[in-house]
Symmetry: C2
Subunit: 525 residues, 2 copies
């Protein structure tokens, strides 16, 4: 399929007189054709106005219809699967197998939200019947449910060119809620973005939905994204990326005349706590699992474990030797972009220069291409506690093992942590029972606690929480994975004294969609 290299503004192409740019093959550093043209302010404005117009209709679209729309998008993406994976492989250097699996996950996410809105109970419908005879004042008829916020801006991420990009989780959940979406494509994989966007555009047409239901904007830099978040038609923002970029969006969104919510997932170092009994019982298994988790996808996951707290002792030292051997033997691999590779090297160098930090293993990487070699650092709790810089995320396959004297020091380190997406604890049953304090402290710091497992591998399911207290995300009350993600793009609206005919179907007396509702305080169908 030929790429046009232009933004998609509803059913039109952007006027695009901004800077042009190319995707680069990170494995070779060579330019990939065609060139892409950055959107202009008038493109942003046109997309936002179309989205605002589209909301009047799309926001009222039934769950069944939104469900069919999302399923059809998944089908179209699967049909174009080979083209998409091939282009994504060139643009990101992610292996074909990984991209095929990510494409599957992306379609699963779309179908998960399709199922959710088809069933329909997610709207949290509530009904309180009237009591006209109540004294001193009659009780009115009150009904409420979640309604969509309005047009949503979604930022494609670098590390998930499919699952957290154009038709990724933010887009799927926003569309499922009834919000038109404008995606700002990540400049590292514009071709992949265009292929997916064209597929989505064709489904919007096929369903005769208003054209502003979906748009895609390209930009070589940051201006288009900031302009988009500043636009008065935009009512919420979804983002996965760096803390710096996330902060920039938070700042723009909170200083607008009408502030809007930003759901920015800004990374995490995902601490792992290894208790002595577990290390004694499963040293090799934990070392191999941890190594796999640290180096999976060249460490380019938000849930990559960048800090390991290990209670020192003979078993711990033996464990470290094994981890050192595994990390040292990791094959060097290409990272997503040369910028990420450069930042990774700089981050690793910064840790290596920190007093009290030892480099235990470092896989050498050649210069000039976007490679990332695995690194293992060790340090002690005192050094960790006196260097807050050791909590900075270094995006890539490195980890720091912090040796702690005793379980009290593990808790002290846990207390010093910032907000995280995850925390992991390896412990025996006895240790779990005797370390409740560690669990309690960690629960206040994270969105997800993992026991005897590893944080990478975010299961897409109803109960998943991929979120966590600031600075892991801008809004720790939310998740970007799992069906709760739809709630981010909604607000409750209450209807008082409405006639049945005027109520949304979900609130009509006969419950036409057959959903679970809270009626006079009792959940019923």
């Amino acid at each position: 399929m030929a790429l046009a290299g232009k933004s998609l503004i509803g059913f039109s192409t952007g006027r695009g007189t901004g800077a042009s740019f190319h995707a680069l093959n990170p494995a070779t550093g060579t330019q990939l054709e065609p060139s892409f043209i950055s959107a202009t302010q008038s493109d942003v404005d046109a997309a936002a106005r179309l989205a605002s117009d589209a909301f009047a209709e799309f926001g009222q679209t039934s769950g069944k219809r939104k469900s069919a729309f999302l399923r059809r998008i998944a089908e179209r993406i699967e049909t174009l699967g080979n083209d998409i994976v091939e282009r994504a492989n060139l643009e990101t250097a992610l292996p074909v197998v990984r991209l095929q699996s990510e494409l599957g996950r992306t379609c699963n996410q779309l179908r998960m939200f399709a199922d959710l809105v088809q069933e329909g109970s997610w709207v949290d419908a509530r009904i309180d019947h009237p009591e006209p005879a109540r004294k001193p004042v009659p009780k009115p008829d009150i009904r409420s449910m979640l309604r969509p916020l309005g047009p949503v801006a979604v930022f494609g991420s670098s590390n998930f060119p499919l699952a957290f990009s154009v038709s990724g989780g933010d887009t799927a959940s926003a569309l499922a809620a009834g919000c038109p979406v404008i995606v700002k494509a990540h400049p590292a994989h514009p071709g992949t973005s265009e292929l997916v966007a064209v597929a989505m555009q064709s489904v919007v047409r096929e369903f005769s939905l208003p054209e502003g239901t979906f748009s895609l904007l390209f930009d070589a830099g940051y201006d288009v994204g900031l302009e988009l978040v500043r636009h008065p038609s935009i009512k919420a923002v979804g983002f996965t990326g760096s803390r710096k970029a996330g902060h920039a969006l938070m700042s723009v969104a909170s200083s607008r005349p009408e502030p809007v919510p930003v759901y920015a997932e800004m990374g995490s170092i995902n601490p792992v706590f290894l208790l002595p009994g577990a290390i004694k019982a499963r040293s090799l298994e934990i070392a191999s699992g941890l190594h796999a988790s640290v180096t999976l996808g060249v460490g380019q996951f938000c849930t990559n474990p960048g800090l390991v707290f290990l209670q020192d002792g003979d078993a711990a030292q033996k464990f470290l030797k094994e981890l050192e051997r595994l990390i040292g033997g990791t094959a060097v691999a290409t990272m997503l972009t040369s910028g990420i590779s450069t930042a990774y090297r700089a981050g690793v160098d910064k840790f290596a220069r920190t007093k009290g930090v030892q480099v235990r293993a470092r896989v050498l990487q050649s210069d000039g291409v976007a490679q990332g070699g695995a690194v293992l650092f060790t340090t002690d709790a005192e050094t960790f506690l006196s260097n807050r810089g050791l909590m900075d995320e270094v995006f890539g396959p490195s980890t720091i093992v912090v040796l702690c004297k005793d379980s009290e020091q593990l808790v002290t380190c846990a207390q010093a942590l910032e907000g995280q997406l995850t925390a992991t604890i390896h412990a025996t049953d006895e240790e779990m029972a005797s370390h409740k304090n560690l669990f309690s402290v960690l629960e206040t710091k994270v969105g997800r606690l993992v026991v005897n497992g590893f944080p990478t591998g975010v299961e897409v399911c109803h109960s998943m929480v991929h979120g966590g207290p600031y600075p892991a995300t801008s809004d720790g009350r939310s998740t970007s994975v799992g069906t709760r993600a739809i709630q981010r793009f909604t607000r409750p609206v209450c209807y008082q004294n409405f006639s049945d005919a005027m109520l949304p179907d979900e609130l009509k007396q006969a419950n036409p969609p057959g959903i679970l509702r809270l009626v006079n305080g009792k959940w019923e169908r």
Copy 2:
């Protein structure tokens, strides 16, 4: 009961070396004894630290225990009811009957949240079972539920000395969620605040809960509140009051090293749309209902209707005459504070000076005491649309009727509105069917739509939404009334691969609390 005039820091009294102040009787302007001492920064810090310590235990307290705690607070407040109402009447000039009813509402709110947490399903428990044999990777056991955010700062409001103050809706919902609460008392009713706080403190003792579960801070000015919101131990803020004060809190909360959510309910002008058929059919009834809603409680409600859009014509002019007669015949009454009365007069004067605005009725008020007389203005749609200042809330018993030429102009006016708590439409069945566009526009602007009723009188029930898009509130995704209010003080936490023994009761396999849970995508008990 003797008042001490000092902040309550857990079980101690504040050191309080700040400015002292007295409550004033707004009806007479005289000082009420005793003097109250403003908290100091060290009082704020002490209360916040105690709250943070308390959270470790209170945040893990079972729903049944929190339920009993909230019920006991309601009982204690009822026992002290006469003292509380008597003092509140002196401090606010609100009639005894109104205060008795507000006390009842306050206790109802506490019991509503007690019922909610006793039943327990509000935690949104979700369970996805593992599939160890799944290929290519096993599916882990994933469970999640809502958990409390941490200590919450609550600001007492001026207009609800009980229901939106010390033990009001924000406090009740935060405690129900498991969050310790620090209340900053409103300086207009410090004695009422102390009476309620002492009752709450005694119940914290009686239940052997950690003392930091509840504290009360006094301040003559703004510093204590800002210091409180700035404190790193505070994880969320509840506020009802002016837009200016709400903005100050939003600004402090978003510029902290760790930003925290602010739920500020900042007022609203609650537009009412009167369609010709309804006016023709029920002119006197609507005029009398509107008059009652505008003047109820001297207009001192967030849901007071400050703007009325009326389609012009013979029936409309007749309706206006009746409304003019009713407003003009309203008895003058004492407002909550002299500051509110002064601001009301200034607001009314500003409208009266606006070109194109006519004063149709104005009840004279004498100088020197905190009185508020009802006022009726009229204007035309052009004047309204070209003067955004006419959308400023004037807190008190005044309203502006905007005469519109036709139904199209009604929609144009609706589109021009800012975010509101409520919008009301009076219409016949035929008009409702033919004005769907007006309903659609208003739905995007408000938290609650009222048909053929009036916005004052916020029913406390599961389905109520007392919230709305900015600037009505700082966070339109929330409500401060109704059981959904508890969600403001929570975030989802996910437990992966936990043994049954380590899980919270709500997520254990056997479902000990018997709550509704989403298990493998199906809601079940």
